[in-house]
């Protein structure tokens, strides 16, 4: 179990190095999907299964799908993957940076708790993170209303930015 979390953490760092080395956006979106999958596994390993499900549905299934469709705007005849010279050099540099800085921060490397969140408690129907999220509807009703309002405002922001016909925010569009 610890080995699986360890492997997922290594996959996370390598996948983010693949995204941060700025290849063509097709490949960077693929790297981000991999990173999101690894981080869902890490969340499950720590006991947050509902939060992992939320991440898969909303982040991967909502936001990254939109990013993948928008990658059509970044089309080029010869997309640069990780085989081209600048991208692979940057990726190697980022991985080496992470490995070298880990030397300074290696005190207490294995001292953390690898136990899932509800390991030592009694049997319950409401697991830890599900019970915590339920508070968003009771005590956190204000922030829920605020979040809904902000999402509605963002819809109008996006519509106004891409309105076109030289009547929107950007006149030339």
């Amino acid at each position: 179990m610890v080995y699986m979390t360890y492997l997922l953490l290594i996959g996370l760092v390598l996948g983010l190095a693949a995204v941060a080395s700025n290849p063509s956006p097709y490949f960077a979106a693929l790297g981000l999907v991999t990173v999101a999958g690894m981080s869902c596994g890490i969340l499950v390993g720590y006991g947050g299964s509902f939060l992992s499900l939320i991440l898969f549905l909303i982040y991967l299934g909502g936001m990254l799908v939109v990013f993948a469709y928008s990658a059509a705007l970044a089309s080029e005849p010869y997309p640069e993957g990780w085989g081209s010279w600048p991208v692979s050099t940057l990726m190697l540099a980022y991985v080496l940076l992470v490995v070298c800085v880990s030397v300074f921060f290696s005190g207490g490397w294995f001292e953390g708790s690898w136990v899932t969140v509800d390991e030592f408690s009694e049997f319950a129907l409401f697991r830890g993170d599900s019970g915590g999220i339920a508070l968003m509807y009771s005590s956190g009703g204000g922030i829920l209303m605020l979040g809904g309002w902000v999402l509605l405002l963002t819809l109008f922001v996006v519509l106004e930015l891409t309105r076109g016909l030289s009547r929107g925010t950007l006149r030339a569009v």
Binding site: N22, A29, S39, I54, Y59, M63, A74, G108, G128, L153
Partner: protein
């Protein structure tokens, strides 16, 4: 520093470096920004889970909602840039200027 803590801190700074040293496309910079938001989400989730205090589990979900707002605003700007300049390459912004 524990292994998990170091992994998330270093990934955050690495995607921040990827945002700073952008190369050609605006979309790859936006993807690095999304990666930063993802790492923030995971870190907030793990904060409540590792300390077994899951009261704050609603915090990462609100962060996800606001991150969706930010991503959609960034993508709208990308679409506007593709409409005016034909592509999202950042050097096109200063190509025909004196």
């Amino acid at each position: 520093m524990t292994l998990t803590h170091y992994a998330f801190s270093s990934s955050y700074f690495m995607s921040f470096l990827g945002l700073i040293f952008y190369r050609k496309h605006l979309l790859s910079a936006l993807l690095c920004l999304e990666a930063m938001m993802l790492i923030l989400f995971i870190s907030l989730c793990l904060w409540g889970l590792i300390l077994a205090s899951t009261v704050f589990s609603a915090g990462p979900m609100i962060l996800l909602a606001f991150s969706a707002c930010e991503a959609s605003a960034g993508l709208a700007l990308l679409v506007a840039m593709a409409r005016t300049h034909g592509t999202d390459r950042l050097k096109n912004l200063s190509l025909l200027r004196c």
